[in-house]
Amino acid sequence: MKFHKKNQVNDNAYNQLDASSSYKTGITLGTQKGETSHSILLLCLVRAFLVFLGAFGTVGFYLAGFQIPCNYFILGIVLFLTSLYCGLLYYNKWTMNIGYIILLLLFLFPALALKTYISSGFAAIRNITYDVIDEIYILPSIRHYAEYVPDRTLAITICTCFLGAFLCMLLNCMISGYMSFLFAFFITFPLIQIPLYFDQTPGMIWFALIAVCWLTLLVLKKSNAYRTKGTAKLNAKGLLQNSGIAASFVIVISLLVMLVTPKGIFHTPDAWNTWKQKTDQYIRNYMIVGFSSFFNKYDSAGGISGGQLGGISSVRPDFETDLKVRFTPYSSEPLYLKAYTGIEYTRNQWINTGATLKSVQKQYNEDAQKYYDSADFHRDKTFFYKEKTVLEENKKKGSNGLSGKMEITNVGAVGIYLYLPYYPYLKNDFQQWALSSDILVGKSSFNIPYEITYFPYVQPVHASKEAFSAVKMYEEENLWQYTSVPDELNSVLGTICTEAGFHGTQEEIIQQMQNYFLDNYKYTMSPGLTPQKSDAVIYFLTKSRKGFCVHFASSATLLLRAMGIPARYVEGYTIPYSKVLDSDLVAGEKYEDWFSGNTELGKTAVVEVDVNDSYAHAWVEVFQEDFGWVPVDFTPPGEGINNESGSFWSFFSSLFRNDSSSQVSDFDSSSQSLTTMRPGTKAFLIVLIIGFTFLPLLVLFVKIMLQKLHWRKKLTEREYRTRIMNQYDFINHYLKLAKFTEQPTNLHSFNEILLKEQLSVPYEIIGNWIQLVEKVSFSQEPLTSDELEKCAECYLLIQSGLHKKLSVWKRFYVFLKI
C-alpha cells in the first residue's frame, strides 16, 4: 500500500531548497520530531470507531426506518468488532496485506455456512420493505421472496451482520485510507435514503450516529490530521480531539434544533414535490419489474400493443390512469374490458380485419343511416350481439340473468379503441363505433364518458333456438378463420400438443393447457428480446419459456387452433377484484339504476375504478358451442417464490441481468400488464459492459496524459534554473520508479547512483551535468549559454541512457507513471 505519493515531489523540492539555504547559512536542519502523537494504534481505533458509527448508523437507520425486527445489540457488537478489525488493518503493511486475506476468509466461510439464514434474512428485509412500499403505492402486484427460516429476527440479524460487515469494509477503505467524506456519504446515503424517500423515519439515535460520522469526516478531511505524510502529519490525538468536537457539535446542535423545531414540521403532502412524483413512477416500476425497469425506458402505448409481439423485451408500465370505470361489482372474478381482437397470426403479430372506424365511415360516406340500413351492418350486428342475445333472452326467461350499466371514460388509454365489457350492448353511434365482420371498430374520446349496457356471462344458459340461430350462423360463416394456424408453425405446435398430451373435450384441453403453462413456463415482465428471424410464439414455447400475458395468450390461441378449437387473441384491461375493493365509492347512485339480477356479491355500491396501464392484459377468447366467444385466461400467476433468484446472492448478480425473472407472488393474473416498449436492452447491456471495460482505460489514459502534460510543462519551463531543477527532479523520479537503487538524498549520492548504474553515457557527461545542477542550485552566478546548451545535452543523454537500461516492461511502467 502506497500512501500519498504526490507529496514526494514536494519533499524533493524542499530538499533542494534546504540544500541551497544550508549552503548559504551553514545551518543544517534535521528532521522535525515529536510534533505529533504517532500512536498508530490510537489512530486506527479512532478511524475504526468512525467506521462503526457509519456502518451501524446506516444499517440501523434502514432497519429502524422500516421497523424491521432485528437484534440491535448483536448487530452492534458484530459491526463494532468488524470495524475494529478493519481499522487495525491499517496499522502497518503486514496487517494490511495479511489482514485482508484473513478478513476475506472470516467473511466468506461464515457467509457460506449461514447462506440460508442470510438469504432468508435478506428476503425478509425485502419483503418487509416491499410491504411498506405497497401500502404507500397500492401496487397491482408485489414481489415476495422466500423466507426459509421461521425465526425472522434471527435471520434478519444474521443477514444484517454480514451486510453491515461488508459496509464496514467499504467504509474502512474510504475512512482509514482517505478520510473521505464524499465517498463515505455516497456509500451510506443510498441505504439511508430508502426509508427517507418513503417517509419512514427511524429514531434520532440512528441519524445522530451517521451525522457524527459524516461531520467528523468532513472536519478531519479538512484538517489533514489523518495523513501519514505531507504538510500536516499523522496526529492521533488531534484526530481524537477533532472527532470529539465534531461529535459534541452534532449532538448539541441536534438537540437544540429538536427543542426548537417540532419533528412533524415536514409532515405535509408531497403533492407540491413534482420531482418526487416523477421518481415515484420509476419506483413503482422497480417494485414490479426490478432493476431492468431502469434500463428499459420506452414510450408507453397506453397498455395496448395492438397485437405486436416482436421486439418487446420487457414491460414497463407508467402507472398513469388510462381508464375510469364506473360500475357495480357483481363478481369476485376479474372484470375484462376488451379493446383489440386478433384474428390472424402472422410475422410476430396478430392482425384483425384491418378495418378502422374511419375506413368504415369512409365506405359509407360518413352517412350513418346508410350504414345502419346496409345488409352488412345487419349481419355483423347479429354476429356481434350473438352472445348478448342469448344472455338477454336467458335473463328474460330465467332468474339468473344479469345486466348492468357501465360508464367508461378514456383518460389516457389509446383512443383508437373502444373499451367494452363482456357482453356489451351499445346504442347506435356511427361516430363512435361500427362493425367490420363481427369485430367492433371504434374510438373513445378522451375524458368523454360513454355508457354501455352489458350482460355478464352466467351459466347455465337457457335461451330459445332463435337466439342460438345467430350463433349457428356465425359458426358456419365465420368460425373457419379462427382455427387457422400459419403453415410454418403447424408442425411445431403439433409436436408441442402431442408432447403435452392435450386430449379430451374442449374444456379438458383448456384446463390441460392452463396447467401446462403453469408448470412449464414462467411469467416475467422482462422476457428479453426475441432473436431476429425467430417467431415470438415458437421462441417462447420452445426456448425462452418465459414471457408475459401477450406470449401466453398468443401461444394458447395458436395451440388451441392447432387442436382444432376456435380461439382468438384479445387485448384489453382487466380489473382485479382487489382493485375494485380499493376503489372509490360513487355517492348518490342507486344500485338498482346500475345493475339488475342476483349476484354472488349481493347488492353492492357503485364504484369508480382508476385503471392504469399496469392492468393492461391479453387473453384468449374460445368459441363455446351454442353460445359464442368466452374469455379464457392462460397466463399463469407469477412464478412466486424462486429459491435462488430471491436470495441475497442472486440479488447482486441480478443487478445488471436482463432476464431478471421478477418473481411475482400473490400476483393476480388478471393484473399482469401489457405494454409496448422500445427494444434495445441487450444493446444497452453491451454498451454498459463496454463502458465498464473502457471507462477505467479512459480514466487511465486521461491521467497519463495529464501527467505527461504536467511534466512537459515543468521540463520546458522558461526560467532555466527552475527548468534544470525540474530535470533533476525528473531524473530522480525516473531512478526511483525504475528501482535502480535507493532514492538519492543529495546531489552527491545522486552522482554516485548514476555512475554505479553504468549507463551507456560517459562519466564525463554525468559529472558535467551534476556540476551544472550544483551550480544552478547553490551559486548565484548565471549559467552561460554554452553551459545551458551543455546542460540540456547532458540531460538528454542521461535520460536516454537510463531509458536504455530498462526492460520493456519497466519502460512501460515508467511511461505510465511519469
Binding site: S22, G26, T31, G34, E35, T201, K222, S223, V257, F266
Partner: protein, 357 residues
C-alpha cells in the same frame, strides 16, 4: 488561499446538495443535517478565533553555547488552553547566524492540541560559528473547515552561540595565508599595547598635551585629559577584521583568533582582542584574562556586524596614537594595502598580518 477557496466552494456545493435533498426528500433529518451544515462554518470560525487568540508559542533551547557542527535540539512549543484543537497550525521560523545576511526560513507543522502544550523538536546544526538567532516570526493557523487562514505575529526570539573551534595554528596559517613560520616566530611579546580611553580627568602638569580632550575642555572650561587604560600588562593584541566576505573565511578568521587566544591563555598571558565595531564606529578592545572572559568577549563579538569595507580594523588600529606592543591582524581579505599600512606605520608598531584565503 487556493485550498481555502476550494474548501469554501466544495462546502457550498455540499450545502446546495443538502438543500436539493431537503426539497426532494422533504424530511426532518435532512433538515437537521442542513442546519448542522449551516451552523458548522460559524462554529468553526468562532472556535478558531477564540483559540487563536489564546495560543502561546515559543522556543526553548537546551544549551547556550555549543561547538561547531554540534546539533542543538531546538524545542518549539505551542500552548492551547482551550478545548478546541487547531490541527492546521504552522510556524514560520527563521534561523540566522548574526554575522550573515542570509536567513533560513522554515515552516514547522505543530498542531495545537486542546488543553495541552504540544512540542516539536528541530535539530539545528551550524558549521559556522556565531550567534544563531531562532525567531518564530508568525503562526499560521486554519480553522476546522479550512475556510480561513490567519497569520498571528509572534516575533519570539531565542539564541545560542556556536563557538569557534581550535585549530593547529602554524599549519593553518601556513596553509591559509602563506606566511612563513619565521613571521610567526617573530610574533613575540615585546612592547606594550595601548588601549582605548578608559576615563577623563583634570589636567595635571606633566601630562602629554596630545592627551588633552580639547572639545570637552572647552565645554568644562578646564583642561580635561583622556586617560588611557594602561596596556603595559597586555603586550599582545589580536585584531580581527570583520569583513563581509565569504562566510567560511570569516569563520576561519574567528577560529584562528580563538585558537590564538586559547594558546595565549594556556601560556598564562593576558592579551587584548580588538576589532572595528560597526555599531560604535571605533575600534573595540577587550582585555582577556582568562577563558571565561574570552568566551564572553567572543560572544559579544558575535553580535557585531560585518562590514563591507575592508581594513577598517587595521586602519583604526594604526590611527591610534599609542605605543603598541605586538599585534596580530587576522583578516579573510587579501589586499596589497595591508603591506602599505605596515610600511607606513612600521616605525611605531610591529604587526603580523594573517590573510586567510
Amino acid at each position: 488561499m487556493r485550498k481555502n477557496i476550494f474548501s469554501i466552494v466544495s462546502y457550498f456545493l455540499l450545502l446546495c446538495l443538502t438543500i436539493i435533498l431537503l426539497v426532494f426528500y422533504h424530511n426532518y433529518y435532512i433538515f437537521l443535517f442542513l442546519v448542522l451544515i449551516c451552523i458548522l462554518p460559524a462554529f468553526s470560525l468562532g472556535s478558531f478565533f477564540y483559540t487563536l487568540k489564546r495560543l502561546k508559542v515559543y522556543a526553548q533551547l537546551p544549551a547556550i553555547k555549543v561547538g561547531k557542527n554540534n546539533t542543538v535540539p531546538v524545542v518549539f512549543l505551542i500552548e492551547n488552553p482551550t478545548i478546541f484543537p487547531l490541527l492546521n497550525c504552522t510556524m514560520q521560523v527563521s534561523i540566522q547566524n548574526h554575522f550573515l545576511t542570509d536567513t533560513m526560513d522554515i515552516t514547522l507543522n505543530l498542531p495545537a492540541l486542546a488543553l495541552q502544550a504540544n512540542t516539536t523538536e528541530l535539530p539545528v546544526t551550524s558549521k559556522y560559528c556565531g550567534c544563531l538567532i531562532i525567531t518564530i516570526q508568525s503562526l499560521r493557523a486554519t480553522d476546522l473547515l479550512h475556510f480561513f487562514t490567519l497569520n498571528k505575529k509572534i516575533g519570539h526570539k531565542s539564541e545560542y552561540f556556536v563557538m569557534p573551534e581550535l585549530r593547529t595554528l602554524y599549519q593553518d596559517i601556513q596553509t591559509n595565508s602563506g606566511i612563513g613560520e619565521e613571521d610567526l616566530e617573530n610574533f613575540e611579546v615585546k612592547g606594550s599595547v595601548s588601549s582605548g580611553i578608559s576615563d577623563f580627568r583634570e589636567y595635571i602638569p606633566g601630562d602629554r598635551l596630545q592627551h588633552i580632550h580639547w572639545k570637552l575642555s572647552a565645554k568644562q572650561d578646564t583642561l580635561i585629559v583622556k586617560e588611557f587604560e594602561s596596556m603595559s600588562s597586555y603586550d599582545i593584541l589580536l585584531l580581527l577584521e570583520l569583513y563581509q566576505n565569504e562566510q567560511n573565511l570569516l569563520d576561519a578568521s574567528l577560529d584562528l583568533l580563538y585558537s590564538f587566544s586559547i594558546q595565549l591563555l594556556e601560556q598564562q598571558l593576558s592579551f587584548c582582542i580588538g576589532w572595528y565595531s560597526e555599531k560604535d564606529f571605533q575600534l573595540t578592545l577587550e582585555h582577556i584574562h582568562n577563558a571565561a572572559v574570552l568566551d564572553v568577549v567572543i560572544q559579544n563579538l558575535f553580535y557585531e556586524q560585518t562590514s563591507c569595507i575592508t581594513d577598517l580594523t587595521l586602519e583604526s588600529y594604526f590611527k591610534l596614537d599609542y605605543k603598541m606592543g605586538q599585534a596580530l591582524y587576522i583578516t579573510g581579505y587579501h589586499s596589497p594595502s595591508h603591506q602599505k599600512y605596515k610600511e607606513i606605520y612600521n616605525d611605531r608598531s610591529r604587526v603580523v598580518i594573517v590573510e586567510i584565503s
